[in-house]
Each structure stands twice: as C-alpha cells, then as structure tokens.
C-alpha cells in the first residue's frame, strides 16, 4: 500500500462514527413514555443496536424523560446493557451529548445523534456542528451509511462496549480506593500476556498502528500483508500484548516489531494503547525484548521518531537504559548495552507464550 493511501484511509478512519446517541420517545420506541407506559419498540431498532454493537460502535442515550421509568422500560426490552452513560434528564440535548463525549473520552466529530424532533436535531447541530444528526425516520438506512462502517471490525470491536463497561466499574473502584496508586494496581490482579502475533491478531495489529499516536515510538504503519510477512519471516518478531484484570479484559493493547539483524536487533515499532497508560505496564514489553536480546547476545537498538505527542516513549527508552547513538533527521537510533534489565513490576503477573 502506498503511504498516501494510508494517510487517506487514516483520515476516513478518523471520521467513522464511534458513538450513536439515541433519543427515546418516538425514536427508539413508538409513543411517549410519560403519557403511556405501553410504548412499543420501533421496528428494526433491536437489530440496529445489535449490529452497531458488533461493529464496535457504542450506543448512548440523550432523552428528556423520567430516568427511572425510562431505564426500567429499557430493561424490560432487554436493551439496557447496550447503552453507556444514559443521559436521561431535562437538560438541553446538546449538553447531554457533550457529557457523553466527555465521559467516553471520544471526540464529538465521531458522534451521531438520532431524534425524531427537528428542533432537537437543530439544537444539537447548532451547538455541535461536528455531530452527525439523523432523523429517526431514516433509521432504515442507518447501517448502510459509510460512516457507520468502520474500516476494522475485529474481535476487539465486539468487546468494545464491555471494555468500556468494565472501565466504568474500574474507575469507580479507583476513585473509592484510598491507598497509593501502586497499592491500587496490586489489587487489580493484572495479567499481561506477550505472544508472537497470530493471523487472527493482524487486523487489530494494523488498527493499532493507525490509531495509536501518543504511546507510539515511530508511527510506522504497516498493512495487513506486510504484517503477515513479518509474522512468517525468520528475521522479524511481531509481538502482541494483551492485558486482563479482575474487572475484565482490555484486549490487545500492545504491539512491537523487532528486526533481528545479525549484528544487532532493532525495535522498529513499539506501541501501547492509551487505555492502559495509567496501569504501569509500559516497560514490560521492552523489558521482555531486552532480556531476549541479552540471551541471544546481541545489542538492542530502537528507532524513535518524535510526533509531538509521544515523548513518553522516548522517556521510557532513555530511562530503560537506551542511549542515542545516531540521528538521521527526525529518526533517532538508540542502543542499549543490556547491562541492566529491570524486573517486571510486582503488581502484574507477566504471562509469556512462546512457540
């Protein structure tokens, strides 16, 4: 794939919808709940919710309603679990949409809002012009909109809502915890798993190279086919990492590409999802690669290209004992003599799957 194509696709990826915010009365269901308790679900809505969920698109609610009544109605329909951060109150819908965006930490330019009332759609569109506003009458075509078709549908996508739901529970537990951060981490029963990428990991690996900027050492992107070639190459290691804790899985959150040259090994790419930034697991993958290089008795090099947001990865390398040995334009080449390799932190169990 050409670099330009990658950029175009990355842009398209940015604009695909990540969260759909639903009105309830005369949108999700037929009728007005406060006037008549016997509302019926709008035809096709259940299937739309399930399909969006499968594609990894989140669903939320912005409704002017009685919260208890509306939530128990959703429960009755067996749909309550599909919705994150339901905003059921008497506020302006633009305020509810903004609150959901803030809670999810997802930009409004990836939001869609569905309502049967032109006034509500206009109010949201006026305050948040970047939100895609959809008339409930057009629900039939919703799933066919290009922006509702994410480029990547992976095992991760289908778990996305559940991962957010575990994050909510986790955040509550963290807020209630009174000890130090390290004590909290040790109570999570984290398991960090490192393995060589399998074919089923490649879509997610490609997605990570495109979506991750902050915790990414070089920003090198690779297509599915290139990644598959590395997977079969004797001169490369394509490693993926996943994280689980007592609240659930974070999914595949790390990726590393190591080029195993004869004179030295080079970490071309090391990235971690921002979702695990506060989990203290950022040094585990590089620590593992360092110990393998030491066993193979080769020096370990690493590429680093600054992008204005990834300085934490440079600090990780430097504090991990890497020294800058070469500079070509933006590209810094670092080298580690492997005289000191940090042990894995006590609060996480590291599970290494070797073939």
């Amino acid at each position: 794939m050409l670099a330009e194509q990658q950029v175009v696709q990355a842009k398209a990826e940015k604009q695909s919808i990540k969260c759909v915010v639903w009105d309830l009365d005369n949108t999700l269901w037929e009728g007005i709940l406060l006037e008549d308790d016997a509302v019926t679900l709008r035809a096709g809505v259940r299937e739309i919710l399930q399909e969006l969920d499968r594609r990894g698109i989140l669903n939320a609610i912005a409704s002017r309603n009685d919260a208890d009544l509306a939530l128990s109605k959703l429960e009755e329909f067996g749909l309550k679990e599909y919705f994150l951060y339901p905003e059921i109150n008497w506020n302006a819908k633009s305020a509810s949409v903004a609150a959901i965006s803030q809670s999810l930490n997802i930009g409004l330019d990836t939001f869609a809002f569905i309502d049967d009332q032109p006034f509500e759609r206009e109010e949201v569109a006026f305050v948040h012009p970047q939100v895609l506003c959809i008339d409930a009458a057009d629900l039939g075509q919703l799933l066919d909109l290009p922006r509702m078709r994410p480029r990547f549908i992976t095992a991760e996508s289908q778990l996305r809502r559940q991962m957010y739901q575990s994050d909510i529970v986790r955040a509550r537990a963290e807020a209630e915890f009174t000890g130090s951060n390290e004590e909290f981490l040790s109570k999570l029963n984290m398991v960090f798993t490192i393995k060589l990428a399998e074919e089923s990991d490649l879509k997610r690996a490609e997605e990570l190279t495109i979506r991750t900027h902050q915790l990414n050492t070089t920003g090198y992107t690779y297509s599915y086919d290139e990644l598959d070639r590395f997977r079969h190459s004797d001169d490369h290691w394509l490693l993926v990492a996943s994280l689980d804790d007592k609240f659930g899985t974070y999914g595949t959150i790390g990726l590393a590409l190591v080029e195993k040259g004869r004179a030295a090994w080079t970490v071309k790419l090391l990235l971690m999802s921002c979702r695990v930034m506060s989990r203290g697991v950022g040094t585990i993958m590089i620590g593992y690669i360092m110990s393998k290089a030491k066993q193979a008795n080769v020096p370990l090099r690493a590429h680093f290209i600054p992008n204005g947001r990834n300085r934490m990865m440079y600090v990780t390398y430097k504090f991990g004992g890497f020294k800058e040995v070469e500079k070509n334009g933006d590209l810094a080449i670092l080298e580690n003599d492997l005289s000191q390799i940090q042990a894995f932190p006590d609060y996480v169990q590291v599970h290494i799957v070797e073939r």
């Binding site: 040094t283 300085r311 600090v315 430097k318 504090f319 810094a332």
Partner: protein, 80 residues
C-alpha cells in the same frame, strides 16, 4: 521555595507513607513505570520553567532527590 522541598512535595504524592532520603534511588523502589517517569519530567519542566533536552533525559539525572536538584540548579543557571 527551596528546590529540594518542591521535589519532595511532588514525590510525596507517590511515596505516601515513606520517608524518602535525598540520596535514595527512587527507581529501585519500584516506581519505574513510564507514566511516573513522564510525570516526573513534566513536573521538573513546569515547576521550574526549564526545558529538559534529550541528552539530559538520562535516568541518572532523575534517580535521587540530590540528582534532580543538581539537574535543576544547572538548568536554572543556564536559562537564568
């Protein structure tokens, strides 16, 4: 305010009930994760209004309260 005092106040958030000595290795106590390292670097830059260049981003400059203090003094002299 005294440079060392400011450093201690910052570190106290991470080492709650631990009385960290000026020459004690912060990183040997297990606080080696990337986020902490980054927060430490940002703390130094923002609190003392100095820029830490790539060549100063060396763990030995950040390893103890003494090391941090002398890094900061050195940078303050250069910019001041």
């Amino acid at each position: 305010m005294d440079v060392k005092l400011k450093i201690k106040q910052f570190l106290a958030r991470y080492f709650k009930d631990y009385n960290l000595q000026d020459d004690e290795d912060i990183f040997s106590l297990g606080f080696v994760n990337s986020l902490f390292a980054m927060q430490l670097v940002m703390f130094v830059e923002q609190t003392f209004q100095i820029a830490i260049a790539d060549e100063d981003l060396n763990i030995d400059n950040f390893r103890t309260i003494n090391a941090l203090s002398s890094l900061i003094q050195r940078k303050l002299v250069v910019t001041g």
